[in-house]
C-alpha cells in the first residue's frame, strides 16, 4: 500500500490534466469527503495557514458549490461551480472556475472513485476548453488545491 506513488499529476493529449491518488478508505468515504461541506472544510485547504470559512456544496444534479478561502492576513479568493452528474459513490462531474478576482475559464472535471484493494483509487480528469487554457491553468495553478500556493508564490498576498 505504501509502495505505490501517492499522487500522480499528468497531462494527456492537448487539453486534459489527470490526477490520481490512492486512499486507504472505501469509495463511499472518499466520495462523501468530496461532497459534504463539513468534511470538505477539513482538508481542501492547500498550504498551511489557510481556512475555508464558507463551504456550500449542494451535492445534487445542477446543484451549486462555492468555496471561499482566507488566511490570517485576511486575504482570500473563491471558487464556484455546478454539479453536472453525481453517481454515489463512484463518480462526480462538475464545472468550476476560480475568481482571482476575475473568473478563470471553466474547468470541466470528472472525478472517479474506484475500489482499489481495501481502498479507493481516485482519478480526476480535467478538461480545459483548449490547450492554451490548460497551459495557462498549469502555469497559474488554478487547479483545486493549488490555488493558495499560487497566490503565495506570486507574492499577491
Amino acid at each position: 500500500m505504501t509502495t505505490m506513488a501517492k499522487l500522480t499529476l499528468t497531462t494527456e493529449a492537448d487539453k486534459y490534466v489527470v490526477v490520481k491518488r490512492h486512499f486507504a478508505a472505501p469509495p463511499e468515504a472518499v466520495y462523501r469527503a468530496h461532497t459534504e461541506p463539513e468534511l470538505i472544510q477539513k482538508w481542501l485547504l492547500g498550504p498551511d495557514g489557510w481556512t475555508m470559512p464558507v463551504c456550500i456544496s449542494e451535492a445534487r444534479r445542477n446543484g451549486k458549490f462555492r468555496y471561499e478561502w482566507t488566511n490570517a492576513k485576511g486575504h482570500g479568493f473563491h471558487v464556484t461551480g455546478e454539479y453536472l452528474e453525481l453517481e454515489p459513490f463512484s463518480r462526480i462531474v462538475h464545472v468550476e472556475r476560480m475568481f482571482l478576482p476575475d473568473p478563470t475559464p471553466d474547468n470541466h472535471v470528472e472525478t472517479r472513485f474506484d475500489p482499489d484493494g481495501d481502498g479507493t483509487l481516485m482519478t480526476i480528469r480535467m478538461t480545459l476548453p483548449d490547450a492554451e487554457t490548460r497551459a495557462r491553468m498549469l502555469a497559474t495553478g488554478m487547479e483545486r488545491g493549488m490555488e493558495a500556493s499560487y497566490v503565495r508564490l506570486e507574492g499577491i498576498i
Binding site: 486512499f23 486507504a24 468515504a29 472518499v30 482538508w43 492547500g46 497551459a135 488545491g145 493549488m146
Partner: protein, 110 residues
C-alpha cells in the same frame, strides 16, 4: 510567470514533448529528428523554433548545422513548478487521509 506561460504553451503539443524527450537523451540536429518523427524538415524546424523561443532548448552553430539540446535553465523552473503543484495537492490529500481515517473509525456518527 511569463516564461512558464510560454513554456507550458510550447509543451501543449505532443510532438514538441516528444522532441524534448528525445533531446533529454542528448543533442540532435534537425536531420536527426526528421527521421524518428517522420516529419518534414521545415515542420521539425518550426517546432524547434517554438521550443527555443520558450527557452526550453538552445541551439549552437556547427558549420551549416544547428544542433539542439535541452536548456537546463528553461526546464528546471517547470520541474520546480510542477513539483510545487504536486506538493500543494499532496498536502490536501494527506489531510484527507486523516479525515477518512476518522470517518472509518467512527462509522456510526453520521
Amino acid at each position: 510567470m511569463q516564461t512558464l506561460d510560454a513554456a507550458f504553451s510550447a509543451l501543449s503539443d505532443p510532438t514538441r514533448r516528444a522532441i524534448l524527450a528525445r533531446l533529454a537523451e542528448g543533442e540532435a540536429t534537425v536531420m536527426e529528428l526528421v527521421e524518428p518523427f517522420e516529419m518534414t524538415q521545415p515542420a521539425i524546424s518550426r517546432h524547434l523554433k517554438v521550443l527555443e523561443n520558450a527557452g526550453l532548448i538552445v541551439r549552437r552553430l556547427e558549420g551549416t548545422k544547428r544542433p539542439a539540446r535541452l536548456a537546463k535553465a528553461g526546464i528546471e523552473p517547470i520541474d520546480q513548478w510542477l513539483g510545487m503543484l504536486r506538493d500543494a495537492l499532496a498536502k490536501n490529500y494527506d489531510r484527507l487521509d486523516k479525515v477518512l481515517a476518522d470517518m472509518t473509525e467512527r462509522k456510526d456518527t453520521r
